[in-house]
Symmetry: C2
Subunit: 178 residues, 2 copies
Amino acid sequence: MVNLKPRLYGWGFLILLTMSTLKEHQKFMRMAIRLSEKNVADAKGGPFGAVIVKAGKLIAKSANKVTLTNDPTAHAEVSAIRLACKKLQTFDLSGCVIYTSCEPCPMCLGAIYWARLDTIYYANTKTDAAAIGFDDQFIYEELELKMEQRKLPIIQLMRNEALPAFKQWELSPMKIDY
Amino acid sequence: MVNLKPRLYGWGFLILLTMSTLKEHQKFMRMAIRLSEKNVADAKGGPFGAVIVKAGKLIAKSANKVTLTNDPTAHAEVSAIRLACKKLQTFDLSGCVIYTSCEPCPMCLGAIYWARLDTIYYANTKTDAAAIGFDDQFIYEELELKMEQRKLPIIQLMRNEALPAFKQWELSPMKIDY
């Protein structure tokens, strides 16, 4: 006769673990969503919130602060990354995850890559955002085009004069890689 | 007989204008390049500088400050945008142009679009940057992939709970569009 007991215990444990993980995800996403709602209710900015978590612990949270602080880069994700880095005193958020109430725009996605976050959890989609006037899609499309096809003019000059700084960086014994 | 004089004056004026415009571009790009060099020499950060100009006037300038300020979003372009917005007390930099010593990464390009800058002037290319270890290319490639193909896990949850904030924004009489 096969002893099923340890197996059953194993499954039970796995189910409990999955349920508690899901609850944790929901708790932090709900926090991001509440920030997005409160931001609109308080007339402080766009309906976006983001939360950064490390090993189940809240590290930083922010709503969108573009109009509040006159900073077009102060999307919820970028602002939460800045706060998390300040708190942990590092520019490297490996081991952290981000919960954002909306799919990140290209700027925020870039910031998330540079900050080396482990995972992105998002709720609303960029299509939902476009439907209320936040057109990230335009930027996504521009990024996919060749430079000369983009709407925003981008012109190269003086590469020869700029290259030595790169050489200098390569040879610098004092540089901090990032 | 055709009187060529006015035409010649016209051409001369155009050539002078073009030369002075080129000189202005060179002046500001040189400023961005000097920032990139000084940043490496002072061991303050990566070899990148950016300058924001409005109607021929310097508005803001910054080198890369990622390691100096523990802020992975503090690339030269993003930092210059933030300073320019602070100075002009607006989140909208229409009418301004940016001179950057290197082709912007996707995060900075996103920030430039959100800030509504008119033109980008750049010197070094992203290929030059990759050659000294700054791999924006990886992020560009990730952005072009479908979510499920990306290396960075991105997971959707709780859209139903997040959507009401968008509705709330649409209906808000107090919102400031940006």
